[in-house]
């Protein structure tokens, strides 16, 4: 295929603005997928994606569009919109020359619209703005076009106006893609250079590597070299996504497709690496990617300590298909042996936890997520910790540094006041404010990441009646006056319940945590005493009164089997509970440190 007739682009947008639905229409109109095989958000084929109605993993697909009698090959990538998966968007863009910036014409510019548009600008992509959902009665395409121009300085007056749902206007978008996006550049006669922009694990075929050919040609059976990892493979199968994998004899400049070679683990492939032929090892590396950044950490402990090994196997298996989380063995005094895992964000954490439980039938306890702290020890060294329990005694360190993120919020103008109050209450420092339109404002603050993970987003959502959106990026580490808040259950400190909090919030947070624990921990046959402490100073107390009556009145011969099962079933209700000392603590209690309500 002559690169002249190839267009490589991603579809980017804020969450739910209709990326996957637009991809559906493109696949349908180009005849890539037959109408009877069509289903909504076809590319969202992971169970969790379908269940939650969101895209988690970027997906590449090839479609052919005919314009003025000429066939054009589109390699499009549907990307996720959720902030946790920015990394997926970033990866995708490197394989493209263009990006469709999709904006919901009823919602307007939102936080990830801005964030993703800037990623596209940085990646030097041509941007084509498309206003979606014009079929909605309350769509305001004119206003929104202006918002795009004001906020992003992107021309939008003649933006395509479409309904990805009904298909109205999508034909025109296809032609605009041909006209606006540059054809891939590259030297067909130069030695092979291909960008590895993604990889997924397939149970039967091993790792499937996503490629974008930059120079030269890759043929089936070629001996290849991954430059970064210095690993050699044979191209057992190559091809394109149509949207299913379709074998091809070769892939050439500008083309996007896959490469399979019995690679056993995702860990053997580095995303962003350069692929070349075995015989041309000296080609220059293509610009790569940054590593995915783990924003939060949480510990997973099996409810039944015997499942520790099973858990390791489950994590190993899971990491084959998701290389963006990390895990390492950890021990807790209260919970025994488990794993500390790093995630891209809270949604990512929730997804991994669900997959572990569902796909591996594991019953486990998860601790509250924590950010990463840097502790400057008195001896001049630095210790990096991912959990409050790991904070050394105050006499061992000089200061603690916490991650600060630059948060960009887009809110309707009438909510500026409350948004500022919430930001200030969460130790935010004002950076700037910009009007996107007379009714919408972008506010930028620097806020400790821990505050975002605590309840910042929930507070913003409820204060702005759901209209406020937020995006954040790591800015750096700064020292803060942080203390360890210990939680004691019947006098014993439970490390898995500790929190690191700012000194000025310690008392109210301590009380809030205890209130929640009090609700979550069931009554026992004895009184359960809860205390929150900073060092040896008790700052809050609660108690859970002892259960005083629990007895079935009747129990005769005919009832015994059934009643025994009931009593045993009440144990099934005890799933996701761990005994700490003699107190049963349910999963939800371990998350009490999160959020205030």
């Amino acid at each position: 295929m002559d690169p002249k007739y190839i267009r490589n682009f991603s579809i980017i947008a804020h969450i739910d603005h209709g990326k996957s639905t637009l991809a559906d229409r493109i696949l349908e109109i180009t005849g890539t997928v037959q109408k009877r095989e069509m289903k909504a958000q076809l590319l969202d084929d992971m169970e969790l994606e379908r269940e939650r109605g969101i895209t988690i993993k970027a997906r590449a697909v090839t479609a052919v569009h005919e314009m003025n009698g000429q066939k054009y090959v589109f390699n499009l990538i549907d990307t996720p919109g959720h902030v946790d998966f920015n990394y997926e968007v970033e990866k995708s863009m490197q394989a493209c020359e263009g990006a469709i910036l999709l904006v919901d014409a009823s919602q307007g510019v939102e936080a990830q619209t801005v964030a993703n548009a800037y990623l596209a600008i940085e990646a030097d992509l041509e941007i084509l703005t498309v206003l979606n959902k014009v079929d909605l009665g309350h769509a305001r395409p004119d206003e929104i076009a202006e918002e795009v121009e004001n906020s992003l300085a992107i021309e939008a007056t003649d933006a395509c106006r479409i309904s990805a749902k009904t298909g109205v206007g999508v034909d025109a978008v296809l032609d605009r893609i041909v006209d606006s996006f540059p054809a891939p550049q590259g030297d067909p006669s130069a030695p092979l250079r291909a960008l590895i922009f993604d990889a997924v694990y397939d149970e039967f075929r091993g790792v499937i590597v996503y490629l974008r050919i930059v120079d030269g040609t890759l043929k089936k059976r070629d001996r290849v070299l991954m430059k970064g990892t210095d690993k050699k493979f044979e191209a057992v199968d190559i091809g394109i996504f149509n949207p299913k994998m379709e074998s091809r004899g070769s892939l050439s400049v500008g083309e996007v497709g896959y490469f399979v070679s019995n690679i056993k683990a995702l860990g053997d492939v580095r995303i962003g690496d350069t692929l070349t032929l075995d015989k041309t090892p000296d080609v220059d590396m293509l610009p790569g990617y940054r590593e995915p950044r783990h924003m939060v950490y949480a510990d997973f402990y099996p409810t039944n300590p015997k499942d520790y090994e099973t858990m390791r196997e489950a994590l190993d298996t899971l990491s084959l298909s998701d290389s963006s989380f990390s895990y390492e063995a950890v021990t807790s005094e209260a919970l025994g042996f488990g794993y500390r895992c790093g995630f891209l964000g809270l949604l990512h954490m929730e997804i991994i936890q669900q997959r572990l439980e569902r796909e591996h039938d594991l019953d486990m306890i998860q601790t509250a997520p924590s950010v990463t702290y840097k502790v400057q020890l008195k001896d001049g060294t630095e210790e990096i910790i991912h959990s409050p329990g790991a904070l050394p005694n105050p006499d061992r360190f000089d200061e603690v540094l916490e991650p600060i993120v630059r948060v960009s919020m887009i809110v309707p103008a009438e909510f500026i006041g409350v948004t500022m109050t919430i930001s200030n209450d969460h130790r935010g420092i004002f950076v700037r404010q910009e009007h996107l339109s007379p009714t919408r404002v972008q506010l930028v603050y620097d806020v400790p990441l821990a505050e975002i993970m605590y309840d910042f987003y929930d507070k913003l959502k409820s204060a702005t009646r759901g209209f406020g959106t937020l995006n954040y990026d790591l800015k750096g580490y700064e020292p803060a006056d942080l203390v360890k808040l210990s939680i004691l259950v019947n006098g014993d400190e439970v490390d898995a319940l500790c929190a690191i909090v700012h000194k000025s919030f310690a008392d109210p947070r301590g009380r809030a945590i205890l209130k929640k624990l009090r609700k979550e921990i069931p009554r026992h046959m004895f009184e359960v005493r809860l205390q929150a402490a900073i060092g040896s100073r008790i700052i809050a107390r609660e108690s859970i009164a002892a259960l005083r009556k629990d007895v079935t009145a009747k129990c005769y011969g005919g009832d015994i089997s059934r009643k025994r099962k009931l009593l045993e079933k009440q144990k099934a209700g005890k799933r996701r509970m761990r005994q700490v000392g003699s107190v049963d603590i349910p999963q939800k209690a371990f998350l009490s440190v999160l959020g205030s309500e």
Partner: protein, 407 residues
Amino acid sequence: MEQQEPPPTSRRDEPRVSAPPRATEGTALYVHLPFCAAKCHYCDFFSVPDEGQDIDGMIAAILREAEVRAPARPRTLFLGGGTPSLLSAGQLTTLLDGLQEITGWRGSAAEVSAECNPESLDLDKARCLLDLGVPRISIGFQSLDDETLKLFGRVHTATESFRAYESARTAGIEHVNVDLIYAIPGQTADEWSADLGRVLDLRPDHLSAYNLTFEEDTRFKRWLDRGRLEAAEEEVELEMFHATRELASSSGLVAYEISNHARPNEQCSHNLNYWRNGEYVGIGPGAVSKVEHTRSGNPRSISPYLRRIQGHGHATEWSETPGEVARVAECWWLGLRLQGGVDPAEVARTAGASDAAIEVSVTLATRLVGDGLLERSEARYTLSEQGLPLADAVAREFLQRLPQGVD
């Protein structure tokens, strides 16, 4: 109440489970008569309104089952239900004489009891029962408040309950139990004490006083879930529980089980056997048996029961044999309901358990002694004052913390 075991009944009602081994001579015998004048709203026993039912056919089936499964010379015989007193004199005669022919109970049973309800217990019925060899009856008073009886869906008044009691005594029945329910929505502790006092004034030999429970698949449970009924507060229930024990004991009735009180030598031996996790044979629809370590049951439904009996002489629909540790846990759970508590050596015998299994259970019991829930004197463990109203929570400790296994 739900089916205890869900083995899907095959279309042709072929029993999938073979009859349990025949019990040895002397084993306790229970006969379930599944008919009542009306279905009470809180009741989860297997029983159906008698209207349009073929009681004679049922008696014939029960006798047929007895021929196949009933133990010879049972130590105790208990007619339960349902409402056995609903049977006519003729039907009672057919049943009890028939059972006599098959088992010879009249020469062996040291205790013979029948459950009766006020609407079907008059002087003639009481005399008939006594003449047929039933010297012990239980009368379902349940409440002394007519409004409550209506709420319960019962078809008698409090006055009729007293009259039935009177009839039993007049007929010369020497052992009478009264059944009562407390912690009824809206009931105060004082109201309960007053009602209980009036019953105790009758000087019954035995008192079963049940805290109202909302069992699955009953009208009461649905009403509770929909907010039409409200369960009593824990504090109120506890107060009633203690008041019951005190009032009964000052009347000479000792709480020998969580909900059962008796004069000396008037305890119900048949039920004591259940709480000691002993063997028994139950016949009739829905009846459960325990022979050796296997528990088994008949269908909780009239027609499948009848069809199975016709076809095979037995109707066993499910069976289960708990593993060793589960049997030990069961012995503790049931035994701790008794005033006399549990002796680990007896558990070892009853459960046929190894020293190791007994030892883990004793370790747990020792911990519970430390927690103040159990008391120990010599070899026996009993629930403490504090543990008594927490009997189920203590049972869960045994049933959940000891490693399980049901084969």
